[in-house]
């Protein structure tokens, strides 16, 4: 057991697939051998194997998820859930792709669902009441994920500087109104108002483009 861990540690660290970027066909088809040691460890010691996955993918998974959901806490929660499930349901025994592809695909789906929920939950009932609502409906074009988080980023960038700062302190870093007020030497009320305006503006911008598809899950075929 100890051997498995030691032998892995040598190849641990930010090892990335050393594929030839100029030959995508070959690279795409390759069975990713860079996860060989993780796979071996998962077979022998699932707990330890998942830890290895944590060291390698938790950071990029969280920083990717946060682009969608905007909150560090939510992103880490979503990603942790995936890992927990990966362990408790022994998902590593079922998947045929690389762990990397599985983890990222799942994280993007969950982030997407979270954002959809976040955007729709504050709407009056009549608008959300639609029989076509299905959790399993996800974008069928991969670029829609990138477009979505890029739109989140753009929406953030439209905010006035001070408002954006307050919003990020609250939403992204999870700071309380009081803490932000103390830090920026402004009143709690101001913080409240700024955050309210910021979330309203972002919601508005995202809704214009994403509301229909997000709510009904009807991504038009290409």
């Amino acid at each position: 057991m100890g051997q498995a861990s030691t032998s892995f540690q040598q190849s641990d660290g930010p090892v990335l697939p050393h594929s030839d970027p100029d030959d995508p066909q070959a690279a795409g088809a390759m069975p990713s051998d860079d996860e060989f040691f993780i796979r071996k460890t998962l077979e022998q010691e699932p707990e330890r194997g998942v830890e290895l996955l944590y060291s390698r993918y938790f950071q990029p998974l969280c920083t990717h998820t946060v682009r969608f959901v905007g909150s560090r806490e939510v992103a880490e929660d979503l990603v942790s859930e995936i890992f927990y499930q990966f362990y408790t349901e022994q998902i590593f025994q079922k998947i045929t792709s690389s762990y990397r592809a599985y983890l990222f695909k799942t994280a993007r789906n969950r982030a997407y669902n979270y954002l959809r929920w976040e955007l729709s939950r504050k709407m009056p009932l009549e608008e959300t009441d639609h029989p076509n609502w299905q959790e399993s409906q996800l974008p069928d074009a991969i670029t829609q994920y990138e477009e979505l988080y890029q739109d989140v980023e753009k929406a953030l960038n439209t905010l006035p500087i001070q408002r954006r700062k307050i919003y990020l302190l609250h939403q992204f870093e999870g700071k309380r109104f009081k803490e932000i007020a103390g830090e920026l030497q402004i009143s709690v009320r101001t913080v409240e108002v700024q955050i309210y305006r910021a979330s309203k503006a972002i919601r508005q911008l995202l809704k214009e483009k994403w509301l229909i598809s997000i709510l009904f899950g009807l991504f038009l075929p290409k």
Binding site: G28, E47, S136
Partner: protein
């Protein structure tokens, strides 16, 4: 005519610098399953080069270890054998360590419910409907609350907790995910796509099935810990007693949804409970014999006063309301 999709192009694309035409090509390219691995490999690399913030990975692993340890409580956690840690982990510190782990778990646990759950609630006298994330509809009667997980609801769990009274119309999901209503009386309703009413307040729990099929689960050890209901079945749980009865008109149990109250030889003493539960009114019955008088029929009332008025007419009694207190007394001629 198609140019190759390279790491550089994908990097541009992740950063939002790809043109509409390039995006279209990537879309097409990505539909081929053999390109998936390359796509995600590039995504990881790009994410590592353009992080949004520094993630505390050791803390996350620590949390994961606690999760695993918590799961298999009696099995010891295998910690990576690092001598420095082993020395530090002396018997004296072990208790301290265990205590802090327990404390951390406790704090996490306490905060958990706020982070994890969304609560829908109605005030006294209020009836409201919501559509949950999975498309299921819930209507809460007055003074009730429903707790729903914020994350992953419908995806890998559909477990809600009800206090009060509600009508559910549950949608079927593609992955056959069960919908479970938990009540405070250690009774779970497992749903298989259906319409039903659950009543779970201080004294008793009652479930009436309108359409479809549900299963009742109770902790093992109690009598009849699993029971499948068919339309029209009514289950009443009072402490350890479980009663099953067939009703001909299951819809009437959800009549409150339309601000309608259906009574069938219901004694005033029971209506007093309803007034307390739905409107937060404290009821006083002046003469004990009136408490046994019964009411039958269907009443429409959008608020407590309207209901009181109808009741006093039907029973021919006097109902006097002062604030949140109501007194029923025989009419003085």
């Amino acid at each position: 005519m198609n140019f190759p999709i390279t790491k550089e192009l994908l990097s541009d694309y992740f950063g939002g610098h790809a043109s509409a035409l390039q995006k279209r090509q990537i879309d097409e390219w990505a539909t081929k399953p053999e390109n998936e691995e390359f796509f995600y490999a590039c995504l990881v690399e790009w994410e590592l080069q353009h992080p949004q913030y520094a993630v505390d990975v050791p803390a996350a692993i620590e949390q994961y270890r606690r999760f695993v340890a918590n799961r298999s409580q009696n099995e010891p956690v295998i910690l990576p054998a690092e001598p420095a840690i082993a020395r530090f982990w002396s018997p004296g510190l072990r208790w301290y360590g265990a205590a802090s782990v327990v404390l951390l778990l406790l704090v996490g646990w306490l905060l958990r419910s706020e982070i994890r759950y969304q609560t829908y609630a109605t005030r006294p006298g209020e009836i409201r409907s919501w559509v949950l994330d999975d498309g299921s509809r819930v209507t809460l009667n007055a003074n009730s609350s429903l707790r729903v997980p914020r994350i992953g609801f419908g995806n890998y769990s559909r477990e809600v907790r009800l206090t009060g009274e509600a009508e559910f119309s549950v949608t079927h999901t593609r992955n056959d995910q069960q919908f479970v209503v938990k009540t405070d009386q250690s009774l779970d309703v497992v749903v298989l796509g259906t319409e039903f009413t659950v009543y779970s307040r201080a004294q008793r729990t009652q479930i009436v099935l309108n359409r479809g099929k549900i299963r009742i689960q109770r902790p093992t050890g109690k009598p009849a810990n699993q029971l499948t209901l068919l339309p029209g079945d009514q289950i009443t749980v009072d402490g350890d007693q479980l009663q099953r009865r067939h009703v001909t008109d299951p819809e009437q149990y959800a009549a409150w949804k339309d601000h309608r109250f259906v009574f069938d030889a219901t004694p005033l003493s029971q209506i007093a409970k309803l007034l307390k539960e739905n409107y937060g009114l404290t009821v006083e019955i002046a003469e004990p014999e009136i408490a046994q008088w019964t009411v039958s029929g269907s009443f429409t009332a959008t608020n407590a006063n309207e209901l009181l008025q109808s009741l006093s007419k039907a029973l021919d009694v006097q109902a006097v309301r002062r604030g949140n207190k109501v007194t029923f007394s025989a009419r003085t001629e």
